[in-house]
């Protein structure tokens, strides 16, 4: 009886091993299989004691070989571990790691999103003979061991919204947050609040959460992971993965396959390797702070020792964050710090109060900002000479000093004075108006109309002759090269709107790529905007030397990068400028589609952050003009993905300092950047040619099985869903930007 049970367990373990290693042949697995099979043949013959001894032997063999196999795990095997229905899930953790918990807003499938689990829990600690219940907000994806309704932890936009709501609750309650990341990625639908927009909102809010956040990553799938992943301490399961994209997704892109086509499994395995997605990889790159060791071949619900380890690790990480921001901390911090690699068990016995006051919260936010600011700093190429770098640093300091004097110190005095003057003037005006009004009435009544000869000349003679006879400003400063082809072009709306074919020089020249019949916007080159939107000769590029690199040595990628650099003459997909619109100074960051689809990696993120810093120091408004972006550059994996929280934090810092942050989408803008530092802007506008969303139609079909309508992502849909704040005609971008600066630039914004 007992033997049977143990054998059943062993065959389940063998089944699990087979699952993990996929189709791969392995001598150890063969050995285990044959031994187990052998035992099954022999067992009826043996006495119970003999059987027990043999089972024991077999169990020992399993332990021994599992350890051996564990050392052989490839990245793809790890992916299979993480996806296995037996893997520990958040429910298991709540049961076994915390001392008590209440689930919030969900009971199995009865939940706004069963893929997102929220609980209030506590950890009980003893100090001497006193017992402390330390409350935490636990937030994480729940995969539910194969429960269909959990959707594999792929969280819908409203699930992420719920997560954000309870992060804010924790902030109010001043309790720390523990997040458990266990998602293959977010569910990419645009229904309100929208996958991308909600993740962006989460990131923006998390950047400013005034309570410590500790995250634990088991399955860190791209944007879905970032939705709850921005944290002060980042732990990762030893058998987890954390990546910008699934290996299958990366392989499909690499192979250039279309929807429904199969990608060779060897390529998928290779991509898993190349994406450097394992815990060890992420630790060495600095994207996680610590690895929590799992049992061999991954933690499953019956690994009770693992939960003990996890509990201690989480407590210690939380303690460390609190201590790092506390006023009095030396000894405890030293104790925790010095024994980093000894036993975290000590943590349980030490007591750290999990509370934050205002000052500590400030320190927490600054520490969080610095933590992310320092990430990925070596993942791009900076070809500036040391003197140039030094000069740039000095310049930054000078600007900050000047701005302080100009806006904070003198500015305040000036404002006070002008306010007083304004009031006086207002009073005077009333008096003057009254007097002159009655005077005018008197003059008008008396006598016939007399026409001033000087004035009547303006009715019959050329006004402002210095402008010349012809006032019309024909055409644009930059003309698309497509305007040089002698050919006709058919508007895609021809069938519905009856648009005539247009001549390319008219369409791409005079009409600025807009169908003169139906208003359809053909995509245009980013240069068109640079030269037709901003004041002539006002573009001054900076940080052009910061170059996209290949931090993961992704095979073949250097050549592709070189090709992109050669083709575009640019060193990254992000161009940053200081410019002017109608004389108003502005900092502009541009994401250009021709450079690897406008993807964002470490270089682009860095440039964006530096541009934001420049705008902050110089008190200029900031425009993110997104010509197009396909998302995060997958070949950089985490170096790219981390730009989502990283740049969002810089945006938040800029906005909180009083900056006006405008985003303008042009062609196709998808995925990571939209789900973070672009989507978090309160002022996002779209040119009629734009499509905005989280994932393109192919990815949506593949991940959700939903056939989306062809116009699913277009600007009007985005406006209807509340994702953008307005749609602009391309020919009026300059005018609209001018107007936005005038109307949105108010008292608390940099633009005055």
């Amino acid at each position: 009886m007992d033997t049977e049970k143990r054998i059943a367990e062993l065959s389940e373990r063998l089944g699990y091993i087979r699952d993990i290693f996929g189709s791969r042949e392995n001598a150890n697995i063969t050995l285990l299989t044959s031994k187990l099979h052998e035992f099954g043949e022999r067992e009826p013959l043996a006495s119970p004691q003999e059987a027990a001894r043999l089972v024991q032997q077999l169990e020992d063999l399993f332990v021994f070989l599992e350890k051996k196999l564990d050392a052989e795990l490839s990245a793809m095997d790890v992916v299979r571990i993480v996806r296995h229905p037996h893997r520990v899930s958040l429910k298991d953790i709540l049961e076994n790691v915390y001392d008590n918990y209440t689930e919030i807003g969900g009971q199995d499938e009865y939940s706004i999103d069963p893929g997102m689990l929220i609980a209030r829990a506590y950890i009980t600690r003893r100090r001497g003979d006193k017992v402390h219940h330390q409350p935490v907000m636990v937030i994480g994806q729940e995969k539910g061991h194969g429960q269909e309704f959990r959707n594999g932890g792929s969280v819908k936009p409203w699930g992420n919204a719920k997560a954000l709501q309870y992060m804010k609750v924790a902030e109010t309650e001043k309790i720390p947050i523990h997040t458990f990341v266990s998602t293959p990625g977010a569910f990419p639908v645009e229904d309100y609040p929208g996958a991308a927009q909600q993740i962006a909102r989460n990131l923006y809010e998390m950047a400013g959460l005034k309570v410590p956040v500790v995250s634990v990553i088991s399955e860190g799938g791209s944007g879905g992971a970032e939705a709850i992943g921005l944290s002060d301490a980042r732990l990762m399961f030893s058998h987890g993965y954390y990546s910008v994209i699934s290996p299958e997704g990366a392989a499909a892109i690499e192979a250039g396959t279309r929807q429904g086509q199969r990608v060779p499994p060897e390529l998928i395995t290779a991509c898993a390797e190349r994406l450097k997605m394992t815990a060890r990889d992420n630790l060495s790159m600095g994207y996680v702070d610590r690895i929590i060791q799992e049992p061999h071949l991954g933690a499953r619900p019956y690994h009770y020792d693992f939960f003990k380890t996890l509990r201690q690790e989480i407590i210690r990480a939380t303690d460390q964050v609190f201590l790092s921001i506390a006023g009095m901390k030396f000894f405890r911090a030293m104790a925790l710090g010095r024994h980093k690699d000894v036993s975290p068990a000590d943590a349980e016995n030490m007591y750290v109060r999990w509370t934050v006051d205002e000052a500590a919260a400030e320190r927490l936010l600054w520490r969080r900002y610095r933590k992310y600011r320092c990430m990925a700093e070596n993942a791009f190429v900076d070809s500036r000479s040391p003197t140039k770098r030094l000069y740039a640093n000095v310049q930054g300091v000078v600007w900050s000093g000047y701005s302080f004097l100009r806006y904070d110190f003198l500015g305040k005095q000036e404002k006070r004075l002008s306010k007083a003057l304004g009031e006086v003037e207002g009073e005077l005006r009333v008096v003057v108006d009254k007097m002159s009004g009655s005077l005018r009435k008197m003059t008008r009544r008396s006598g016939p109309a007399v026409c001033d000869a000087e004035k009547s000349r303006m009715l019959t003679e050329l006004s402002q002759p210095e402008l010349g006879a012809c006032l019309e400003d024909w055409g644009w400063s930059y003309i698309s090269p497509r305007a040089r082809e002698d050919r006709a072009v058919t508007c895609p709306n021809m069938k519905q709107s009856g648009c005539p074919d247009l001549w390319a020089p008219d369409l791409f020249g005079d009409f600025a790529g807009v169908c003169s019949h139906c208003g359809h916007h053909f995509p245009m080159e980013y240069q068109w905007y640079l030269h037709n939107v901003f004041d002539p000769d006002s573009l001054h590029e900076f940080n052009a030397e910061i170059e996209a690199g290949n931090p993961l040595d992704y095979p073949g990628f250097v050549d592709k990068l070189e090709e992109a650099k050669k083709k575009t003459g640019r060193k990254s997909s992000c161009l940053t400028y200081e410019s002017r619109i109608d004389g108003k100074k502005i900092v502009v960051a541009v994401l250009i589609a021709p450079f690897r689809g406008g993807t964002v990696g470490a270089a682009e993120g860095e440039k964006f952050i530096r541009a934001l810093a420049r705008a902050r120091k110089r008190h200029y408004p900031f425009l993110a003009y997104v010509h197009g972006t396909a998302g995060i550059r997958i070949q950089e994996s985490l170096n790219g993905l981390i730009q989502m929280p990283r740049v969002t934090m810089a945006v938040r810092r800029y906005i909180e300092a009083g900056g006006l942050y405008l985003v303008l989408y042009d062609t196709n803008s998808y995925a990571g950047p939209v789900a973070s530092f672009l989507g978090c802007s309160p002022y996002q506008f779209a040119i009629r040619s734009s499509n905005i969303g989280f994932a393109g139609p192919g990815v949506i079909k593949e991940t959700t099985g939903i056939d989306i309508p062809p116009n699913y992502h277009n600007a009007y849909q985005a406006l209807t869903r509340g994702h953008v704040q307005g749609i602009w005609d391309r020919r009026e971008v300059r005018k609209n930007l001018k107007n936005a600066l005038l109307t949105i630039g108010g008292r608390n914004l940099y633009y005055r």
Binding site: P448, D452, S456, A469, D501, W503
Partner: protein
């Protein structure tokens, strides 16, 4: 002399297409025509078949599609395109495309830059003012500032009062508008602010431009025009006299044109009519010289009851009424002038071969536009079948029509229901009028619509208006 190897594609329909084909024949040039499904029975298609055979005629999906015109032109190996009037005649983009495409053709009309400059009314007004040519009093550029706008309006009222205008009216127009949209009038400066803001907001909504024009409204004016003809050099610029086009429909469409513009020899005017005609001719010539005008065109003027002329606009094309000027013109004493043929010849690079002194004028010409419409009912177009339509043969009459004389003809609903142009000539106004009346009486025009009701036309209206022609 021009090369006889030229082949002209006629990018138009109806009467003008026929006259272009005939002019090409006179010049010994080859031609090709286009027609649409609805126009299969039109006279221009028949004429093309008759003079050139099936290979000179191509069916297209639309006269409005430049791609159709150019694809046919290339296929037919045409070397030049005549746009006629309407359609592409004043479309500078079309003219530019014709001349700047990979396989360039001659555009029979002014160069595209001239069409562009003079196609813009504000530009035209400023150009005129820069040459001290009189224009309608008011602003000559879009005004964006409310205070400035109010000042102009205020001054306009004072100006009119000073000029002795009894009923002063000021127009506020959306500068980006056109075709009567976004125009309001004010009678008193107190109305200005409300109206100005309404027009400005309308313009902003409708045209995405807040610019507003403020102009005096001129009442009871006569509509005169000057026919200009120039060669490609831009220096040989002649005029072929003036026309008076004051008889119009309620929708401001011309119905009768008379050349010359006034007739002081027979009618007494309250002002010096000869001087007015001389002035508008010399103003028009001056402006044509300034821009280097290089084909035919018409300078349109309005003349106030006090005899003040104001330049309205320039039409950079051949006009419907070109024939009435031709009727009174003599080159080196010879009649039979054909301004369309002149246009083609000059556009193809030929030199004028005469100067202004060689051009003389004789008699009076009247052109009637015979249209199936109901003048009593706001000139509503009539649609139906024409059963009989014949004009009497007279040596003083030129009759242009695309309606077949030998078969019933269904008026296509896609296009204007113009039936014919009749040009009558007389030694003086009295004779021209008398001949006009006799022509209208002798012409036969009958038909019925689907309900069996008989044809409606403007013939009675034309006859009524004949008596007072050129009186002002």
């Amino acid at each position: 002399m021009i090369s006889k190897k030229h082949k002209v594609l006629v990018a138009n329909r109806g009467e003008i297409a026929m006259r272009i084909v005939q002019a090409c024949r006179r010049l010994g040039l080859d031609f090709a025509c286009v027609y649409t499904r609805e126009d299969h029975a039109s006279g221009h298609a028949a004429l093309a078949r008759e003079l050139g055979g099936e290979s000179r005629l191509f069916r297209v999906s639309s006269y409005h599609d430049a791609n159709e015109i150019l694809s046919v032109a290339d296929h037919a190996k045409a070397t030049a395109i005549h746009p006629g009037y309407g359609f592409f005649a004043e479309d500078f983009r079309f003219a530019r495309r014709v001349t700047e495409r990979a396989h360039p053709l001659v555009f029979i009309g002014p160069s595209w830059r001239i069409i562009r400059s003079l196609g813009d009314k504000i530009n035209t007004k400023r150009l005129a003012r820069s040459l001290s040519i009189p224009t309608v009093p008011g602003s000559d550029r879009p005004v964006y500032d409310e205070l400035e706008a109010e000042e102009i309006a205020e001054t306009l009222f004072a100006f009119q009062a000073e000029q002795g205008v009894e009923n002063s009216v000021v127009l506020v127009k959306a500068s980006a508008g056109g075709g009567g949209m976004g125009i309001e009038e004010i009678h008193d400066i107190d109305q200005f602010k409300t109206v100005y803001r309404r027009v400005r907001n309308y313009a902003k909504r409708q045209f995405h431009d807040e610019g507003v024009l403020i102009e005096q409204r001129i009442f009871d004016f006569n509509h005169l025009e000057v026919q200009i003809v120039a060669d490609r050099t831009g220096s040989g610029i002649m005029h072929f006299g003036t026309r008076n086009c004051s008889v119009q429909s309620t929708g401001r469409q011309k119905r009768i044109e008379v050349a010359p513009g006034f007739r002081p020899e027979e009618i007494h005017y309250a002002f010096d009519a000869k001087k007015v005609m001389d002035d508008i001719v010399s103003f028009s010539l001056a402006m044509a010289r300034e821009v280097g005008y290089d084909n035919v065109g018409t300078w349109e003027w309005i003349v106030s009851p006090m005899g003040q002329p104001f330049l309205m606009e320039v039409n950079t094309r051949i006009q419907v009424e070109n024939g009435v000027s031709a009727a009174i013109s003599r080159i080196k004493g010879a009649g039979g002038v054909d301004i369309i043929a002149e246009q083609i010849r000059l556009a193809l690079g030929d030199s004028l071969g005469y100067d202004q002194n060689d051009i003389t004028f004789a008699g009076v010409g009247i052109e009637y536009r015979i249209i199936a419409e109901d003048p009593a009912n706001r000139f509503t177009p009539w649609v139906g079948r024409i059963d009989r339509f014949t004009a009497p043969g007279r040596e003083w009459l030129k009759f242009h029509s695309h309606i077949p004389q030998d078969a019933a003809y269904l008026i296509p609903t896609e296009y204007d229901p113009n039936l014919a142009l009749a040009i009558v000539w007389g030694r003086d106004l009295a004779e021209a009028k008398a001949r006009g009346i006799s022509f209208l009486d002798d012409m036969v025009l009958a038909g019925e619509d689907q309900t069996g009701a008989s044809l409606k036309s403007n013939v009675a209206f034309l006859r009524d208006k004949t008596a007072a022609l050129l009186h002002f």
